[in-house]
């Protein structure tokens, strides 16, 4: 059997929704954020598995899957299906409410390119700052610095504060840092949606290159074509549960079919 990369056992995530201004001061904003998702969930499936009371909802329930080394898995599903929550748990940004995940390889997540960029600092400083937020060591960034700058194509502006960059330059620099990570597992959230067509192609190619070098990729995307292009396996999430898990084409086609049916 191939080497395991990720193993998720009965992972569930519960969110609390506060309807009143409680003593928990974080509640008001939380309410604003969660309400629409929870409302949507309930309207879709009133007999939701973990349904307890209107103040909680399960963004994920009993998720089990295994990912082998070198696999590239796409996550699809409607808004609020739990894709981002799952990715957040895998990236260790939030913790599950139940269950367990074991990660066997070095992992990096890319939920947004340009994480931790500081507008006042130069491109050079931001490469280091961003790289270290993504979990790179200083020596690693030192070693790849020239490569990163080359790939971004902004050599002449590398000492200029990022606030003077055009948005295109900014994205190129941020993306360049990101693709020079050397993870064994890469978690990606909709990053392909950034940039123009040429840039999208460039990032697709880079991802295929990473896959070729043996990386494991988990990709959340609404673009069925890029999922089909990159992923050999797709997990379809619906109401926080796995609806289907199998070869990309099969699952994506079923998913598209279900969307048309419900319309």
């Amino acid at each position: 059997m191939a080497r395991l990369s990720i193993k998720a056992e009965n992972v569930s995530k519960k969110y609390y929704i506060k309807h009143h201004m409680g003593s928990q001061a974080g509640s008001s904003l939380k309410e604003a954020l969660n309400q629409p998702i929870a409302g949507l969930l309930r309207s879709i499936n009133p007999n939701h598995n973990h349904y307890e009371n209107p103040d909680t909802f399960w963004a994920l329930s009993n998720i089990c899957f295994e990912v082998e080394h070198g696999e590239s898995v796409g996550l699809i599903g409607r808004n609020g299906a739990g894709k981002s929550t799952l990715l957040k748990i895998l990236s260790r940004i939030t913790r599950p409410t139940e269950g367990r995940i074991i990660i066997y390889e070095r992992i990096n997540s890319l939920l947004e390119i340009g994480t931790g960029f500081n507008m006042d600092l130069s491109g050079r400083d931001n490469i280091y700052l961003n790289g270290s937020f993504l979990g790179m060591k200083r020596v690693e960034i030192d070693r790849k610095f020239d490569e990163i700058v080359d790939f971004s194509g902004i050599e002449t502006f590398i000492e200029t504060p990022v606030k003077y960059y055009s948005s295109g330059m900014f994205v190129r620099l941020a993306f360049s840092v990101a693709v020079h990570l050397t993870p064994e597992i890469l978690l990606l959230d909709e990053v392909l949606a950034v940039g123009d067509a040429e840039f999208k192609q460039k990032s697709l190619n880079k991802m295929k290159e990473l896959l070729g070098s043996g990386a494991t990729i988990i990709l959340v995307s609404h673009s069925e074509s890029s999922i089909k292009e990159i992923c050999n396996r797709v997990i379809w999430l619906s109401n926080g549960q796995i609806e289907m898990d199998g070869p990309s084409k099969l699952v994506v086609d079923k998913y598209i079919q279900s969307i048309h049916q419900s319309e």
């Binding site: 001061a25 904003l29 939030t94 367990r100 995940i101 074991i102």
Partner: protein, 282 residues
């Protein structure tokens, strides 16, 4: 190759639900020391971007405060200051307060002000308050230069008492960082704390003998003033700068360190447990 070795040694990460009280993973914080260094540099660089103006801004704060209090308390009210000129007297206490309150404030807000990064990437959140604590040393150095100038203007010499300064600074940072962590963690669960902190710090400044000497507090209330850990700290700084009062016995330092360390550990543990919540709450 170093890198392939690193990968071979990779220990599986086990992600579980938060379970009971969790302790901060100091080993992990140490592994993220590069990030800590970059954060300190980010803090300083963006502040000293326009070098001259940057330093000036930091210097302006204590100077203006000193002028106000000199005018009100030194000239108008004529607060007795143990025969030390009021400006030096005030500043020798105020720079301690400024150092303390800056660390408390910046540490407490460090998670809120970096929420954008927190919800997008994983790293031990403790590096955020640690980075602001370390970078505030630079602000202290600026104030320190001002007081040295002021001391020279008043003919006060730099003595061997100054050797105690590093010990005092470490103690102040430890205590301030602990208090900051406590407030930072509180802020995650109770948003109102954000608004209270300013008041708490203001009251704390007034009850600490910074703009007035300890001798102004009636004898029977001094015991209560001593309950404020900052009182002894400010007094000891004054002993270093001005030679007023006396050096507390070493046993007091030991007790202070133990208490400050305990506060810090409690703060760090509380902070660690709020860390689990922050991405869900914000």
């Amino acid at each position: 190759m170093a890198e392939s070795q690193q990968i071979k040694e990779f220990k599986p990460i086990i992600i579980t639900p938060p379970h009971g009280i969790e302790f901060p993973d100091f080993k992990e914080v140490w592994e993220h020391r590069d990030l800590l260094i970059f954060l300190v540099r980010r803090e300083l660089k963006s502040r000293f971007q326009q070098t001259v103006i940057g330093v000036l801004w930091i210097a302006l704060q204590p100077i203006i405060q000193m002028l106000i209090f000199y005018l009100v308390l030194g000239i108008l009210v004529k607060v007795p200051t143990d025969n030390v000129p009021y400006p030096v007297f005030f500043l020798s206490g105020f720079i301690v307060w400024q150092f303390f309150s800056q660390i408390v404030n910046a540490s407490a807000f460090s998670m809120l002000s970096n929420i954008g990064i927190i919800v997008k990437s994983y790293f031990p959140r403790l590096v955020l308050p640690l980075a602001v604590t370390i970078s505030s040393i630079v602000d202290f150095l600026v104030s320190f230069v001002i007081i040295l100038v002021l001391m020279a203007m008043n003919g006060l010499p730099i003595t061997t008492r100054f050797l105690l300064l590093p010990v005092l600074l470490i103690l102040t940072m430890l205590f301030a960082s602990g208090v900051g962590l406590l407030f930072g963690a509180l802020m995650v669960s109770f948003r109102d704390v954000k608004n209270f902190l300013g008041f708490i710090l203001m009251i704390w400044m007034y009850i600490t003998p910074i703009m007035y000497p300890m001798s102004l507090i009636p004898e029977q209330y001094r015991v209560y003033a001593r309950l404020n850990p900052l009182t002894s700290l400010v007094e000891t700084y004054r002993w270093v700068f001005l030679g007023t009062g006396s050096l507390p016995p070493w046993s007091n330092f030991l007790i202070s360190f133990i208490v400050a360390l305990l506060i810090w550990l409690i703060g760090a543990i509380y902070f660690r447990n709020m860390e689990n919540m922050i991405a869900d709450v914000m």
